[in-house]
Amino acid sequence: MAILEDKIRVRFAKTGGLQYISHLDLMRTMRTALKRARLPLKYTEGFNPHMKLNIALPLSVGAESVCEIMELVLTEPRSDAEIVEALSGSVAPGFIIYEAYTPVHKLAELGWAQYEIRSDEINGITAGEIIKKLKTRPMMVLKRTKSGEKDTDIAPGINRISINSTYDLLTLVLCADGQNYLNPEYVLRFIGLEDCSIMRTKVFIGDAVTEFR
């Protein structure tokens, strides 16, 4: 197992009222929380030093997550338990700090993310239709890119899906690497599901099976 020295990863939840804050808002929030936690954080050198902090994946406003991953660099060693305790005491209710651990995989190895979608519109009646729609090839949507909007086939970005219509639950495993990140909202728009709750529950490496650590 590769060990990335002096980097620490922290897995936390962003749920409830916190789903309304953006990725950038989250970065700023964590910076002040880390300072309040009095963790010995490393700063970059040079003209405009800033905290060495990275939050792995963007999350849309309106989506929740129980597997947000934040990577930090400390200048002095702290045990995983110390980090969780210090940070837990410095964040608003709504953030749950689950664990701090030494990274196994490089950030670039992050490949796929699992989302749990819940909606009244996912049930015994609609399940068949939903699965049929998700088998459409190619699956064309208007995707917003840096250079504007483009008609894109998002099918390659879907690894697997499953429906549990008893629990009105649709599970999607979608591409989450830097280049081809697929926002679950595109898939939901394609299926025609309007008001769903979206919860990111797991992240995997490239094989879409091994948990990203």
Binding site: I21, D25, R28, T32, K35, P49, V61, G62
Partner: protein, 619 residues
């Protein structure tokens, strides 16, 4: 909390979702007085306001008082609330505004008044105070505009005049006592509040008018109601309440940092400046106190910037000591220290280097007027030489961007004074090129930012008319024509029509409430925002209300005229303001309080002492 479906449809839902770190959420069952602090502008602007953060902490430090927050919803959220008929609610407990005991508004800017009315409406509270019943909250206003609150007097039950840290707590205590003793009714409460120092209850005064429209009398209705309400000050400012915790916004705000209030009041006496007068007498906090408060706040918030706040930070008597104390730990903790704009004539290289933020490549100065004569009229005691020296220091230290603030439409202004603004900018640019050694090869970028003069109550210029809209715009255009060097000089100016409406309300009286009701009917709001300000609708509102806006904005008020704000005593006397007005018209300057006391009268507030000798004003 608002419904998820709605929050997912609006811009920046974080403005409404609450849950911030540092917020104080109390169980309604545990408190006897509930207060909601309403900021009549967006969340981002409200969260940056120091006064609100201070009062939130002061009220919540009373165990049986609960203070929550509400902000003006943006237009998209307002549409959702109206469509679903959902009342505006507070952040902490999601409680509808109309069910609080006391609803408080901070009146920062006249162009927020329409937002006040809109928030009352969205909170399901009757707009007019006289229409409220026992089931409705007491609506109270405070802040800078409360010194002349007459335009909104019909919408408020009580005004808090002056510093609110102690006053509002006293009001809450009065509320609780009256409720517990069974003597509480709205009218009884308001009557009792009028007996507390610093509270103005507008419904207890009769205003009568002359045939020419000016005020003939302001009379209390009963003998126990004070003829004049004296503003509250915290005499021992060094020991005054200061919060140890701040609510940390999630959304990016205008100012998101620790603000240390170093002193209140100002020694300079610039004649256009309302803040300098209404916050007198000058009271400082000790450097040790400020350093201690900064450390405590940093520990509890984790902010990476501390800003020293004051009307004129250069005049804080312990500035070198304070900056040294702070710098001894802020660098290590990766915290930036920033200062607001420094006075041109006390701009020191040493100070600039100390707090130099490497990221900023520019400095801001406020000469305010283009000629020495004009600067003398407004008592802004800086010379062209002072400005060029300050700019030289900036250039030598690698700052090539200079921003200069000016006003046009000042009393006694001529075109020569406008030309002077352009000439001053040219002098700054040529002084750069005359420098023997230039540290960088980048050309200087001088930005002239020109606002329109608005006469404000409690200033020596309170009697002066605002220049007409036509003149203001003509002068703005003329200045543009005078600026020939567009490579090095940028020129920005404020919409004179906005300043015109501001001037109407700044010196307005109670009859303007009709115009505000008409403005509400025309759905005017967020008037301080370019995309929402609608001048034509405002003129329609004034017309529908039978109001001539020029009567308030463009008329010269008589020296013996009863002014709408005469029932308020801010310490500084009208005699002093008249003396200053006379000197202005002779272009004679007045020295700063530290050089020579001018007997403004603010010292009377310390112990009701009428003597003209200002002993405790300046340290």
């Amino acid at each position: 909390m608002y419904d998820r479906k709605i929050l997912r449809r609006v811009l920046k839902p974080g403005r409404y979702s609450g849950g911030e770190y540092g917020q104080i959420v109390k169980n309604p069952a545990d408190t006897k007085c509930s207060f909601v602090f309403c900021f009549p502008d967006t969340y981002e602007i409200g969260m940056s306001n120091l006064g609100v953060r201070l009062l939130y902490g002061a009220l919540n430090s009373e165990p049986d008082v609960r203070c929550e927050r509400a902000y003006a919803p943006w237009v998209d959220m307002e549409a959702e609330l109206r469509a679903a008929d959902i009342p505006l609610q507070s952040h902490e407990n999601g409680q509808p505004l109309g069910t609080f005991d006391i609803v408080g508004f901070t009146l920062q800017y006249e162009l927020n008044y329409t937002n006040v009315l809109n928030m009352l409406e969205l909170g399901k509270i009757p707009l007019l105070a006289e229409e409220r019943g026992e089931e409705h909250p007491i609506v109270i206003g405070g802040g800078p505009c409360a010194y002349n609150a007459e335009p909104v007097a019909e919408f408020f039950d009580i005004f808090s005049i002056g510093e609110g840290e102690e006053a509002l707590v006293e009001l809450a205590r009065l509320y609780i006592n009256m409720k517990e003793s069974g003597s509480y009714t709205r009218e009884a409460f308001k009557r009792e509040a009028s007996h507390l120092a610093g509270f103005y209850v507008p419904s207890l005064y009769d205003i009568s008018y002359n045939s020419d429209g000016t005020i003939s009398a302001i009379e209390p209705k009963y003998p126990d109601v004070p003829v004049r309400v004296t503003k509250r000050i915290i005499a021992d400012f060094d020991n005054s309440f200061f919060p140890e915790m701040l609510v940390m916004p999630y959304i990016e705000c205008v100012h998101d940092r620790i603000m240390l209030e170093t002193f209140r009041g100002c020694i300079r006496g610039c004649r256009f400046c309302q803040a300098g007068m209404i916050f007198r007498p000058v009271r400082e906090k000790k450097a040790e106190t400020l350093d201690r408060q900064a450390r405590e706040l940093y520990k509890n918030t984790g902010y990476d910037e501390i800003s020293l706040s004051a009307l004129s930070i250069s005049d804080y008597s312990q500035l070198p000591e304070l900056t040294d104390m702070l710098l001894s730990w802020t660098d290590k903790c990766m915290v930036n220290l920033s200062l607001p704009s420094l006075r041109i004539d006390s701009f020191s290289e040493e100070l600039m280097k100390k707090v130099d933020s490497v990221r900023s490549s520019g400095l801001t100065f406020a000469p305010e007027a283009g000629t020495q004569r004009m600067r003398d009229v407004i008592n802004k005691n800086v010379t062209e030489e002072d400005l060029l020296n300050a700019c030289q220091i900036a250039f030598r230290n690698g700052k090539n961007q200079i921003k200069l603030y000016f006003m046009n439409g000042l009393p006694t202004e001529t075109h020569e004074d406008i030309d002077g603004i352009a000439k001053l900018a040219d002098s700054v640019v040529s002084s750069y090129y005359r420098m023997s050694e230039k540290p960088r090869s980048r050309p200087p970028q001088v930005t002239i930012s020109v606002a329109c003069f608005v006469p404000k109550p409690f200033t020596p210029f309170q009697w002066e008319p605002q220049d007409t809209l036509e003149n203001l715009r003509e002068k703005q255009k003329h200045l543009g024509d005078c600026i020939t060097n567009r490579k090095n000089i940028r020129y920005t100016w404020h919409d004179a029509r906005v300043s015109h409406v501001e001037a109407v309300f700044a010196r307005g009286d109670r009859r303007l409430s009709r115009a505000l009701l008409e403005a509400r009917k025309l759905d005017l709001k967020f008037d301080g925002w370019d995309e929402h300000f609608d001048f034509d609708k405002w003129m329609k509102a004034f017309e529908n209300a039978g109001i001539d806006p020029a009567f308030y904005a463009n008329r010269e008020f008589g020296r013996d005229e009863i002014l709408p704000w005469d029932m308020i005593d801010i310490g500084v006397t009208k005699e002093f303001l008249l003396r200053e007005n006379d000197k202005a018209h002779l272009a004679k300057t007045t020295p700063s309080c530290r050089e020579k006391c001018s007997g403004c009268g603010a010292n009377r507030l310390f112990d009701g002492d009428d003597s003209q000798i200002c002993g405790r004003c300046c340290p």
